[in-house]
Symmetry: C2
Subunit: 155 residues, 2 copies
């Protein structure tokens, strides 16, 4: 797959936070329930984003996480690189370490421009743009429509 599951979850959570950027610190519990992701697992993922200074956190009651910067300044690529690394945007399709314009693999000339487009897609789209779409309520960050709660909660 293009992104790891961990990265999927991290992105979805970031999207949720961006859509709720007007609010104060948001508990991870709330995010995990709304997006139907294991609370403990999500906690771990969001810790990474906190360490990378994409989120800030606050302990105790009224605590939670929120974006560390204006949503406009956080590209999706920033989130992806924090979790999965930059491999998607830099590496050879068939995994050759030394693939380069001088020593190309047979797909190099066709893959490179496509990889650059992927790169630009995640670069130019910021959490802000995504949040605008989400608030219009015609888009999803979860498999169940918003409002309908998942039946199984973390106990």
């Amino acid at each position: 797959m293009v992104l790891s599951k961990t990265c999927d979850y991290g992105l979805r959570a970031a999207l949720y936070l961006a859509a709720n950027d007007d609010r104060e610190f948001i508990p991870i519990k709330e995010i995990s329930e709304k997006l139907n992701i294991s609370f403990h697992f999500l906690t771990k993922i969001l810790q990474i984003l906190t360490q990378e200074d994409i989120l800030t956190s606050f302990k105790g009651p009224k605590g939670g996480v929120k974006l560390a910067m204006p949503a406009k300044t956080i590209s999706l690529r920033k989130v992806i690189e924090a979790i999965d690394g930059e491999g998607l945007f830099t590496r050879c399709v068939i995994g050759l370490d030394t693939c380069s314009p001088e020593h190309p693999c047979p797909l190099h000339s066709e893959w490179e421009p496509l990889r650059d487009r992927i790169s630009r897609l995640f670069e130019k789209n910021t959490l802000f743009e995504m949040a605008v779409k989400l608030r219009s309520n015609q888009f999803r960050v979860t498999d169940v429509p918003f409002g309908i709660q998942p039946t199984k909660h973390t106990k």
Copy 2:
């Protein structure tokens, strides 16, 4: 990453076979040494491609594997799907099962066309085209240039 390591290796081996399509059955041992991939591991991968009728194999002396069809009729996508499945060409970027034009994720409209391009890239390029490039000797399927043997062999 875009493709699994298993798929990388499988593709590289298929490319090697295509570039040597004039010869008869080629021992997996030869491929594993030329491409510097573990013999046993590669055996397993090529078994998959044999089961999927992309390769045919032949036991005993003078045995080995070769393409089961003309290289022109084997798209890279066929090889990729045999190993990694079709997820790369069908799934949502952020992994939503229900993402669709009716219930899109915020990236759907931008990702879908890009995904289709990736799809077409691997669809239109066949092992034949890759083999032509490889035979011109300006392209690589391995990190070390052809001719220079890797120092460490499988014992």
